[in-house]
């Protein structure tokens, strides 16, 4: 029997989200856009898992699939041990209280025709919590919690600044006191000074309410601040997953190294050794055979080697890497063991 505090809050196993690509009017979908391809990870209660990767690598798709806003093609999602990947809309509703999402663009994610009061009241109405007065009381408490003035109640989203709007989005997400929040690039659309305020708010809420985050971002410095563990995604797959400190101190995968070397340093005198990748990210519709990254890696390999698939293995406790001749220096040391 596993101990209760060791049970992961969320377990994702071999999750795939493929979108059919239709060509012509009557054609059946022959090709698929493999936005998320065979991804496995877990999140413990109260933990923050950071998720980084370039645009189009499937981070947001993964986040939305976990919230069941997109239907996964294959694989399993277990929330507190229960499979939620094939639940119907009404079966899913009780899980919605524990599983929330914060979106990237707060202007898009708030209905412009509703007041802030209406937006924040909606979760309570849907889940039939309290009467009208109780709901208003809770909405006011939410505004306090995210640091918005009580006068916001009657205002509309477009009357707020970007950071304040994101606070509204956060207030809506925490309204039902969830256990896990998928943060889909919650600070990417904000100014740097506002970003830190929002990150602090998220961390304060985590401390007070014990929420777990799946924190999606493309900014490594943001992820570094907030995450306990960090996963790196490339073309729909995890290429590296480790504790935050370990990942930044000891990156294994060439792609991770390239990402870390690209973090801007606020000191013009520091000379940095940039790892510059070749070429562009291949299309997820027609990924090259074998290791998708091999042809861009600074470690050059022959086409024969590149078309062999890599292996996603745990190289040291809690540190998972996609091992392939082109992605990890001295890859043989790991493969021998397996």
């Amino acid at each position: 029997m596993p101990q209760s505090d060791c049970t992961p809050l969320l377990e994702v196993e071999n999750l795939k989200v493929h979108f059919p690509v239709k060509e012509g009017v009557f054609a059946r979908a022959k090709r698929f856009c493999k936005a998320v391809d065979d991804v496995s990870f877990s999140i413990k209660p109260g933990e923050t898992l950071g998720l980084v990767g370039e645009s189009g690598c499937g981070k947001s798709t993964l986040g939305k699939a976990i919230c069941r806003l997109l239907q996964p093609t294959a694989g399993s999602i277990r929330f507190e041990g229960e499979s939620i990947e094939s639940l119907s809309k009404s079966q899913m509703r009780p899980f919605r209280r524990d599983l929330q999402i914060i979106f990237q663009d707060p202007a898009e994610s708030l209905n412009a025709r509703h007041t802030v009061g209406q937006i924040l009241e909606e979760p309570f109405i849907i889940h039939k919590i309290g009467d009208a007065q109780e709901r208003i009381r809770r909405v006011r408490a939410l505004l306090d919690k995210v640091g918005l003035p009580q006068s916001s109640l009657e205002k509309y989203p477009f009357e707020f600044s970007g950071g304040q709007r994101q606070r509204i989005g956060i207030a809506r997400a925490i309204a039902l006191e969830p256990k896990l929040i998928v943060c889909d690039e919650p600070v990417s659309a904000l100014d740097v000074s506002v970003q830190s305020q929002i990150l602090n708010l998220l961390m304060d809420l985590q401390r007070d309410m014990g929420i777990s985050y799946l924190f999606i971002a493309h900014d490594l410095s943001v992820v570094r601040v907030i995450s306990d563990r960090v996963g790196v995604m490339y073309l729909g797959k995890f290429v590296e997953l480790a504790d935050g400190d370990e990942l930044f101190a000891n990156p294994m995968h060439e792609y991770t190294k390239a990402l870390i070397s690209a973090i801007p340093v606020p000191d013009p005198t520091v000379r940095k050794d940039r790892v510059v990748l070749r070429g562009d990210v291949p299309s997820p519709i027609d990924p090259p055979p074998g290791c998708a990254f091999a042809r861009r890696s600074p470690i050059e390999v022959s086409e024969d080697v590149a078309s062999q698939p890599g292996e996603y293995i745990e190289v040291s406790p809690g540190h998972w890497v996609e091992v392939h001749p082109a992605t990890v220096a001295n890859h043989e040391r790991f493969l021998v063991r397996s």
Binding site: L69, R97, I101, A112, R113, I126, Y156
Partner: protein, 357 residues
């Protein structure tokens, strides 16, 4: 506390609409005409507004027929109040009659030189714009014709929009095969010839069917062949809104499909439809007038602009007042509504800077 609070964006649009004088005053004029038409019986009617007879007051406008016997006229059919007024004046008694400004209703035929033929405008007779070919007062015919046309158009608008919005929204929201099949069915349906259907339907409806039922049949046929236009706008609107994050957020909270459609998608798509409303009204008035002109519209003896236009063109040289008055009435109404439509379109335009003022 205000009962109805506009979203500030909507309030801004309304304020901009008020600034466009031509449209705003046209809107007020139309509104006044429609409001006035609710009480048309008090102003244009053969029944008196008030009759004072032997110390008692009678209000014949609304309610049952008051027979001539009541006022000592010696007949049991409805009192002719114009004659009653003359009689009271001849007698010089305390009895009096207050007649409407235009003391004719749109159905009664008044002889002219002993026969039923168009009488020219005459203030002494009370026929300000003359009479039509069967001696009915043209002002009364025009005004009641306007009233029927405008209410007919509003009913048409509401029904077509309800059907169009519902079907369009469902197609856009659910998409997929439902959308594909729905679209093809709508394309087929749009190609059915409306005029033939109207002709066929009214050749089948027996003459015993009352006028009000015939009007409803006409409305039904017109709605059946006109709701498709709205579905296109609603479909694209729903497609667009459905993909936005606030809908995803609502779904993530656990909102039901009906809640997502009615609370989130509809309010965000409906705003654009307001722009189309005046033009739909213009279209409906024109359509029903054209049908009346051809003789397939509102059944006689319903007062109608199209029927008057037809009479006018038939008697262009002998009774030019008919065509002139009905033409000007039609043009005025359509222009007013079109001005309102232009102003609404301008006020709701996301690109604020245009030439129109």
């Amino acid at each position: 506390m205000r009962l109805f609070k506009f979203n500030p964006l909507t309030a801004k649009k309304v304020a901009r609409f008020k600034q466009i004088r031509r449209g705003y005053y046209s809107f007020l004029a139309i509104l006044a005409l429609v409001a006035f038409s609710f009480f048309a019986e008090l102003f244009i009617n053969s029944r008196a507004i008030v009759v004072s007879y032997e110390g008692e007051l009678y209000f014949p406008t609304y309610g049952a027929v008051i027979p001539g016997d009541t006022f000592g006229l010696g007949y049991s059919y409805e009192t002719n109040y114009r004659e009653l007024k003359e009689r009271f004046e001849e007698e010089g008694s305390d009895n009096w009659v207050l007649l409407p400004i235009i003391p004719y209703n749109p159905y009664e035929n008044n002889e002219y030189e002993g026969v039923f033929k168009p009488a020219p405008p005459s203030f002494s007779e009370g026929h300000w714009l003359g009479t039509d070919t069967t001696g009915r007062d043209i002002v009364a015919r025009l005004f009641y014709g306007f009233r029927i046309a405008i209410f007919f158009s509003f009913a048409f608008l509401i029904l077509t929009y309800l059907i169009g919005i519902a079907i369009g929204c469902l197609m856009g929201y659910f998409g997929g095969l439902f959308d594909l099949i729905g679209q093809r069915l709508i394309e087929i349906w749009s190609n059915l010839p409306f005029l033939y259907v109207v002709i066929i339907v009214f050749s089948v409806v027996p003459s015993s069917v009352p006028v009000s039922a015939r009007i409803i049949i006409l409305l039904t046929v017109m709605v059946m062949f006109s709701w498709m236009g709205m579905t296109y706008y609603m479909r694209t609107g729903a497609y667009k809104e459905k993909a936005r994050d606030y809908v995803a957020a609502a779904e993530a909270i656990g909102a039901s499909t009906t809640r997502v459609i009615f609370r989130h998608i509809l309010p965000n798509t409906l705003a654009t439809l307001v722009t189309f409303m005046p033009f739909t009204i213009v279209g409906a008035i024109t359509a029903v007038t054209a049908l009346d002109y051809l003789g397939f519209g509102l059944p006689p003896p319903t007062p109608s602009l199209g029927e008057l236009l037809k009479q006018g063109t038939d008697n262009l040289t002998t009774a030019p007042w008919i065509v002139v008055s009905s033409f000007f009435t039609l043009v005025t109404i359509l222009t007013l509504v079109a001005f309102v439509g232009e102003a609404i379109r301008e006020a709701f335009d996301p690109k604020k800077f245009t030439v129109y003022r």
